[in-house]
């Protein structure tokens, strides 16, 4: 047992920190710190800065232009970037599609798409969920029928995150209806500008627009856009899930949010004293901090096993459940600490070019919206109920 990082790992941390000091624009980190949404251009700006340093794709092999970090290095990078309030890396191309193409894509697909992901030429979104297929993803109905050298796609995807920015979507589609649902699914890459595609934004309960419905009406997709083999899409999707679930604990996000919470709690007053000295509120903060400290180590235990080559299995379900509950609890406290100032909804304060003095404390405008928005954490990426079922089956074997 040794809880310390190695000297080499600490050197890596120092390198990341130095880079962030120098290259992370304060304009961006300030927005992230205040919980404000970033524009498409701002997200792309940060991607370009990382790409220039060769650090955009920490999880990719060097041969594809990745940094080829192991799990511990990726964790350190995550810790440092979140605590510096760097924008998060948009995961769809980098964390999700990239590894799938590297493992199952054709040479032509790899040569074409991978550099475009790194250079920001393509913005990918994930087309899995459908109105009738959420937790039960294998029941998806969007149909792709082969006609000569094309597939004709009909159906609907939904909850497509940042689909409004995307020019490309990777989809799970049904190519065979005669078999077990999982065995008739294929993995298809679709250009969003193809005729027959309509994107409709969905407004979430915090007022934000981050998800969309995507409709497919006789959309012609060239067969070379099929990834791997027809009807093997479910296998690729499951492979992708293991990547989607790295860093699923969100320890870095929670740490950053906890630091921000304590800052606010020092400034918000109650009965002439800062909230951080209020015994009830201090106890609430302490409880979640204790949970987070343990979570950080649980996370490192899984990561350290992964760095030795053991693929995380049901452990990642554990990280997802506890990690999201902790993040949501911190969001709850951040809303709580604002007191009456959680009530105003000054959406214009979140928009570019609004120079009016904010209403109430600086983070107040985003506290309640962020609390409501992050209810999603326990719903997407496999809901927490589904994760518990996985734990029940795979670990408890009940």
């Amino acid at each position: 047992m040794d809880l310390k990082f190695s000297i080499k790992e600490e050197e890596f941390r120092a390198e990341v920190r130095g880079f962030l000091d120098e290259k992370l624009p304060e304009r961006l980190s300030e927005k992230v710190r205040l919980g404000q949404g970033l524009t498409k251009a701002e997200m792309e700006e940060w991607h370009a800065i990382l790409n220039h340093r060769g650090w955009l794709a920490g999880n990719w092999p060097a041969q594809y232009g990745g940094a080829e970090w192991n799990a511990v290095q990726r964790h350190i990078f995550e810790e440092e970037t979140t605590s510096a309030h760097a924008p998060r890396i948009v995961p769809f191309g980098l964390a999700m599609l990239g590894p799938v193409l590297q493992a199952f894509g054709s040479d032509a697909q790899k040569a074409h798409y991978l550099p475009r992901i790194l250079n920001g030429d393509d913005w990918w979104c994930q087309g899995y969920s459908e109105p009738g297929a959420g937790s039960d993803l294998a029941s998806l109905k969007t149909r792709a029928v082969r006609e000569a050298d094309h597939y004709i796609v009909n159906g609907q995807k939904t909850w497509t995150t940042l689909g409004q920015y995307a020019n490309m979507i990777f989809c799970l589609v049904r190519t065979d209806t005669e078999c077990k649902p999982q065995a008739g699914i294929s993995f298809l890459l679709i250009d969003m500008k193809t005729p027959g595609i309509t994107v409709r934004p969905i407004r979430l309960l915090d007022g934000s627009i981050e998800v969309n419905e995507v409709f497919f009406d006789d959309v012609k997709v060239p067969v070379e856009n099929l990834v791997g083999e027809e009807n093997k899409g479910w296998t690729y999707a499951k492979f992708l899930l293991t990547h989607e679930r790295t860093n699923i604990a969100g320890v870095g996000f929670s740490n950053a949010a906890l630091v921000a919470l304590k800052q606010v709690a020092r400034l918000q007053m109650s009965g002439g004293k800062p909230m951080i000295e209020n015994p009830h509120f201090a106890a609430r903060i302490a409880r979640v901090e204790i949970d987070l400290m343990a979570m950080a180590t649980t996370n490192l235990r899984v990561i350290s096993a992964a760095a030795r080559g053991q693929a995380p299995g049901a452990e990642s379900s554990m990280l997802k459940v506890k990690g999201t509950v902790i993040r949501q609890e911190i969001n709850d406290l951040t809303r709580r600490v604002m007191g009456p100032y959680a009530v105003p909804f000054t959406s214009e304060a979140l928009e570019e070019g609004d120079n009016r003095e904010p209403v109430g404390p600086q983070q107040a405008a985003t506290a309640a919206p962020q609390y409501f928005n992050n209810r999603k954490l326990s719903i997407f990426g496999g809901s927490n109920e589904i994760q518990r079922t996985i734990i029940t089956k795979a670990i408890l074997q009940l």
Binding site: D136, S139, G271, R284, P344, I379, E385, R388
Partner: protein, 375 residues
């Protein structure tokens, strides 16, 4: 012992439920919230015509209700429908203070309140006050035969639409002291008033209001100079009862929507309501909502007696806890749909949670309950 509503209150409940059921659906509500004042002036006037504002006042003040169970019945229905009309602000808070403290001339305004032709707001909370009622820094200085106000009032509910404000200010004593708080009835457009109004996540327009050497005549004073705290406490006790009942109604709707969804949403070839883990979660939701109902009944039943504050704080604490659970479970069990503005649940979940930010949250009322010596 009788837990049934009187015939009059049953009629009040029935007619309000019918009326609001007619006026409110997700699209209308979102439209009202996005409109100029954050609620619908038409619905407001119809509520007045139905006598719903009058139901908040007793006969001596031109109304026909005003008791704890009148508030409870009425606000539960508002909550159930997800109504965004400012009955709390104009009726219970500011209207209640006007009825309690106003002199003959000042009280003529009550007729307009009950008729629905005026909007009021209580400008009391301040940036550093959080939930403490006696924390008033805004100052009122006597000058000649009038008063001069200076200070900053925070998140004045309905402050955007109000024509008249009731403003609290300290005319003597130290900040945080119980004595020395005075109330003033002020035209919202008076010179020396700067209003920044804004929407909220759940409707209505609130405002931060600054008083910069705002000069008032002597007859603006409402009640005794320096002696307003007990009336403020009573008005807030009534307001807390009202929003607890509102939260209860909203929780009932959130529960009903979720049960309906569990029955209809199919995944893995069956309605998700067949999964036992979800069934048990809903059973807990039901148990907790029944607890909330009893807490509201306790608060309403003791509104006029010596145990008022104890029951008010008990209800507000319990409903803060239960409300969070109900809102979060309702969203979670809906999955993605529960996260969308277009679906009815969103408004109810947000309202239930934000009610914890009004007039003292669950921790504030836990502390107060302990301080009242009951624990």
């Amino acid at each position: 012992m009788d837990f049934n509503l009187t015939e009059e209150r049953q009629m009040l409940q029935d007619s309000l439920r019918r009326f609001l059921g007619d006026k409110y659906n997700t699209e209308n509500r979102n439209g009202f919230i996005a409109s100029e004042r954050g609620f619908s002036p038409d619905v407001w006037h119809e509520l007045a015509e139905l006598g719903m504002i009058g139901a908040l006042f007793d006969a001596a003040d031109g109304g026909f209700g005003g008791a704890g169970f009148d508030l409870a019945v009425l606000f539960e229905e508002l909550g159930r429908a997800g109504a965004v009309d400012p009955l709390l602000e104009t009726g219970v808070l500011a209207g209640g203070l006007l009825a309690a403290l106003g002199n003959g001339v000042q009280k003529t305004l009550l007729g307009e309140v009950i008729a629905g032709s005026v909007q009021l707001a209580l400008a009391h909370g301040e940036p550093a006050a959080r939930y403490d009622l006696n924390f008033v820094e805004t100052s009122a200085q006597e000058s000649g035969d009038g008063w001069v106000l200076n200070g900053h009032k925070a998140v004045v509910l309905n402050g955007g639409a109000a024509n008249k404000l009731i403003v609290s200010a300290r005319s003597s004593g130290a900040v945080g002291g119980d004595d020395g708080i005075s109330l003033f009835l002020v035209d919202a457009k008076s010179a020396g008033i700067e209003r920044r109004s804004y929407g909220t996540l759940t409707g209505g327009h609130s405002a931060d209001i600054r008083f910069n050497d705002c000069k008032l005549p002597a007859d603006a004073l409402l009640g005794q100079a320096g002696g307003a705290l007990p009336a403020l406490e009573t008005a807030h006790a009534r307001a807390i009862l009202a929003i607890c009942a509102e939260a209860l109604g909203a929780m009932e709707t959130a529960k009903d929507l979720t049960i309906e969804y569990l029955k209809t949403r199919q995944q893995f070839g069956r309605p998700i309501g067949k999964f036992q883990v979800l069934q048990h979660r809903m059973a807990d939701v039901l148990i907790e909502i029944e607890q909330a109902r009893s807490a509201v009944i306790n608060a309403a039943g003791h509104l006029e007696d010596g145990d008022r504050d104890l029951h008010i704080s008990a209800a507000k604490n319990l409903i803060g806890r239960v409300g969070r659970q109900v809102a979060e479970e309702a969203i979670q069990l809906h999955g993605g749909i529960g996260m969308t503005q277009e679906y009815d649940l969103a408004h109810f979940a947000k309202r239930i949670v934000l009610i914890d930010h009004l007039f003292g949250d669950t921790d504030h009322h836990l502390e107060r309950f302990i301080a009242l010596g009951a624990a």
